[in-house]
């Protein structure tokens, strides 16, 4: 493979600084096939024997091999030796972000461990206090030791909550963290006051346990999230490792990384390579697959001077280009820029729990204030104390713990169904979805052409063989489709000569007869045929015609009908011709008023923006803008890396069944969260009322808090348990 070979350029002076970190001389390789202990031994063992390599450490979880060398160590042999062992290795450019992630993870572990140690020891002291030590000379001493152990929790463990409150306040919002922080602050002040006066209860045990449980629940969700989406994190937007640029002084083409390209450079592409920048064609003509931009699988025939955009792929032959725009100035760069602004326009999603947290915080503080005002003139100290107790008791902490758990369970369930969800929020947003918008090519259809009809139905064997021989090396999607179709049941030996590629087909002599394969009119001149017709001529006589089209996925019709039954409106947006779009829509019974053909990325964006509650399903760069604007976006397997990167959900199986499972899972998540909300609020409101009336003894409160948390945790785990027993929908239909 060309791509793998070009990775071996890693030691060239132009490439080395991009991949090798200068301080430690380390390179990270992605080794997607590393799976077991055997791989581990083979990979590390073979790489470590290479000269100059100091260490090779494979991370089986993330499938990353970190190779440490010296300043002059060659890293290309690493790729070669792994290739011989049967593993494809790709150097990673993102060493910086890996380092950043590692640091963040370490801090997370530190917070969790320190908080656990402190909370555990405070709890031990608290138990002895509840058991009777609070009536002895130990009470005050225990209180101060607890406070000393509580300080790391408050100042280090709870930092994420302080930060989250600050970030939410900046956008004038409150989250579920607001009541948590309120309880934390009030509880600390209250306990400290009681400690100083030597009377009343302290809450260091409940507060530190609360912080620990919250941190643990969130760390768990983070862990699941990372495990699920790590394979997608390393996808770069446009994967071009190297490009050949004309060097005038050396009069030859030099291989450089695309980052080094500048406007005015002349580059050459071979068949199958992608343009790394916007460029004008210098060669007389070339076939370019611009599916990335247009969504149309049929290659475009470009002529000299025509502009092609980065990401387009050359089909067949070689072609020279003159670079006109690179980086941010290229069409792709502009699209990325637009993508970012579209994303920020979409705004911060406020989850149900955070919304409730906001109202709850305001409500509790208001009640506390009113209570203090009402009783200020009778017994101000008692009023203040009870108001503080209310703030503390009314903290919906159980909810704050149960929600990340519910989301983690849902994410795991999704993964079993072949859905990779990058952000738990998407699950909640699914509830709002009213309009489901599909891209056509590669989403509702397979994305590549197939022969679906032949006229006459059976060709003679010599014609059959001629078509195969003429098309077997073709890179044109129609050529590939013909070769695949006619390869079956065939004696493939034959003599081919005088082969030529023409503007709209191929020609050549097979076994002494001249043949020509080009586009033709449909059989009875029917111009409304949505298929592309190709004819085969033998000695200038038409022998037969073949209809090619990009067929609709077999499950698409059922999916569309199911969505319509669920009350969603289904739309179809495509860059393809209106005629084809209408035909596909008819096949799938999508109303024609919901169909838009010949869409540019901006048209799709506008169409999505016009609707509310949108779910966009797509696969190409031309969908990314619309996907960013939609409430939830789903990328289909086999699509462009770009759409995987920008989508919220990725269907990892090659069918659309996951879509229905996704909607059902979203519904289930939402109802679990609602159930938790109900239980939690009932508990908090009744507890708060009793606290205001002075009925709740602090000991009872300390017992009730963990009980409510555990109830919710168990409820949450139970509500996702049925998923395990249900066979995954997608697997079933795959079989």
């Amino acid at each position: 493979m060309q791509q793998v070979d070009s990775f071996k350029l890693i030691d060239q002076p132009e490439f080395r600084p991009l991949y090798v970190s200068p301080e430690t001389s380390t390179v990270q390789f992605s080794v997607p096939d590393a799976k077991c202990a055997k791989c581990l031994g083979r990979i590390e063992g073979s790489v470590e024997t290479l000269p100059g390599v100091q260490s090779a450490r494979l991370d089986l979880g993330r499938k990353i091999l970190t190779v440490r060398g010296q300043a002059n160590t060659a890293f290309a042999p690493v790729i070669e030796v792994l290739e011989r062992a049967g593993y494809a290795a790709e150097p990673i450019k993102t060493a910086h972000s890996e380092e950043h992630l590692r640091r963040r993870l370490r801090t997370e572990y530190l917070r969790l461990g320190v908080t656990a140690a402190c909370a555990g020891n405070i709890m031990l002291l608290a138990i002895s206090q509840y058991a009777g030590a609070n009536r002895t000379e130990f009470d005050l001493g225990f209180g101060w030791i607890s406070f000393g152990l509580f300080l790391p929790v408050l100042l280090f463990g709870a930092v994420p909550f302080w930060r989250s409150l600050r970030d939410h306040l900046r956008v004038r919002r409150l989250s579920i963290d607001a009541p948590v922080v309120a309880a934390l602050t009030v509880g600390t002040v209250f306990s400290l006051k009681n400690l100083l006066t030597g009377s009343g209860e302290t809450y260091f045990d409940s507060l530190s346990a609360l912080i620990f449980l919250l941190l643990a629940a969130r760390a768990w969700q983070d862990h699941i999230q990372r495990k699920i989406s790590q394979s997608l994190n390393r996808i770069s937007f446009l994967d071009v490792f190297s490009v050949r640029r004309w060097n005038t002084s050396l009069s030859t083409y030099q291989v450089i990384p695309p980052e080094k390209l500048s406007v005015g450079d002349k580059i050459i592409l071979s068949s199958g390579e992608r343009l790394p920048a916007d460029a004008r064609l210098v060669s007389p003509n070339a076939d370019l697959n611009c599916a990335v931009w247009t969504g149309e699988s049929e290659p475009q025939i470009m002529v000299q001077g025509q502009l092609a955009f980065a990401g387009s792929r050359l089909v067949g032959g070689q072609a020279e280009f003159l670079v006109t725009a690179v980086g941010d100035k290229s069409r792709l760069g502009e699209l990325l820029h637009q993508l970012r602004s579209t994303r920020s326009e979409r705004g911060q999603f406020q989850s149900l729990v955070n919304k409730v947290g906001e109202y709850f915080a305001i409500l509790v503080l208001a009640i506390a204030a009113i209570y203090v005002l009402l009783f200020a003139w009778t017994s101000p100290l008692l009023a203040l104390e009870r108001a503080l107790a209310l703030t503390l008791l009314a903290c919906p902490c159980a909810l704050a713990i149960a929600t990340p758990l519910a989301l983690s369970r849902a994410l795991e369930a999704a993964q079993r169904l072949g859905l990779i969800i990058k952000n738990g929020d998407s699950l909640e947003k699914l509830e709002r979805v009213q309009n489901v918008i599909f891209d056509k090519t590669g989403t509702l259809t397979w994305g590549d052409a197939r022969v679906i009809k032949c006229v006459p139905e059976q060709f003679s064997e010599e014609v059959h063989r001629a078509i195969y021989l003429l098309e077997k090396d073709s890179l044109h999607p129609y050529g590939v489709a013909l070769a695949r179709h006619f390869a079956q049941s065939l004696n493939q030996v034959g003599q081919m000569e005088n082969f030529v590629t023409k503007a709209d087909g191929v020609a050549g002599r097979v076994d002494g007869k001249s043949y020509q394969i080009t586009k033709c009119l449909p059989p009875n001149g029917d111009e409304t045929s949505p298929w592309t017709w190709i004819g085969i001529w033998q000695e200038n006589q038409l022998m037969g015609q073949m209809a090619l089209t990009d067929p609709i996925r077999q499950e698409a019709r059922a999916i569309v009908r199911k969505l319509q039954q669920m009350g969603k409106a289904v739309y179809l947006l495509t860059g393809d011709r209106k005629l084809v779009a209408d035909h596909v829509a008819q096949e799938l019974s999508i109303p024609l008023k919901n169909v838009q053909g010949e869409c540019k990325p901006e048209d799709k964006l506008a169409a999505v923006k016009n609707l509310t509650g949108t779910l966009m399903v797509g696969d190409g760069v031309n969908d990314t803008l619309a996907m960013a604007a939609a409430d939830v976006s789903v990328a289909v397997r086999g699509g462009m890396e770009a759409s995987l990167k920008t989508s919220d959900v990725y269907l990892s199986q090659t069918n659309l069944n996951g879509l229905i499972a996704l909607l059902e899972l979203g519904h289930q998540t939402r109802s679990t969260i609602r159930k938790n909300l109900l239980v939690s609020l009932t508990y908090n409101i009744s507890g708060g009322t009793l606290a205001l009336m002075g009925y709740i003894h602090p000991l009872l409160a300390a017992v009730l808090m963990p009980v409510s948390s555990f109830t919710l945790v168990i409820l949450t785990l139970l509500s996702f348990r049925q998923n395990r027993t249900q066979p995954p929908l997608t697997k079933e239909s795959l079989a």
Binding site: C36, A37, L40, G41, R42, E44, G45, E48, T49, Q54, S55, A56, R57, L58, D59, L60, G61, R62, R68, R102, L105, R106, Y109, L110, G113, V114, A117, N121, T136, F138, G141, I145, L149
Partner: protein, 62 residues
């Protein structure tokens, strides 16, 4: 009952030691990779040797 104070002091020293040990472990990357070590133990002896040699050569890393 003053023996309790001795025990509490002892406990606090123990807690500090363990937390310090934990912090050291996290900072030195002991928790960076939670999957591979479980597999590394399954390696055959000859494969393990090359790994061990290099580990001692490498020394401590940040």
């Amino acid at each position: 009952m003053s023996v309790l104070w001795l025990m509490i002091t002892f406990t606090l020293v123990l807690v500090t030691t363990f937390v310090a040990g934990y912090i050291w472990a996290v900072r030195h990357g002991q928790f960076d990779d939670l999957v591979t070590p479980a597999h590394r133990i399954l390696l055959d002896d000859d494969e393990l040797q090359t790994t061990n040699e290099n580990q001692s050569k490498k020394g401590s890393h940040s």
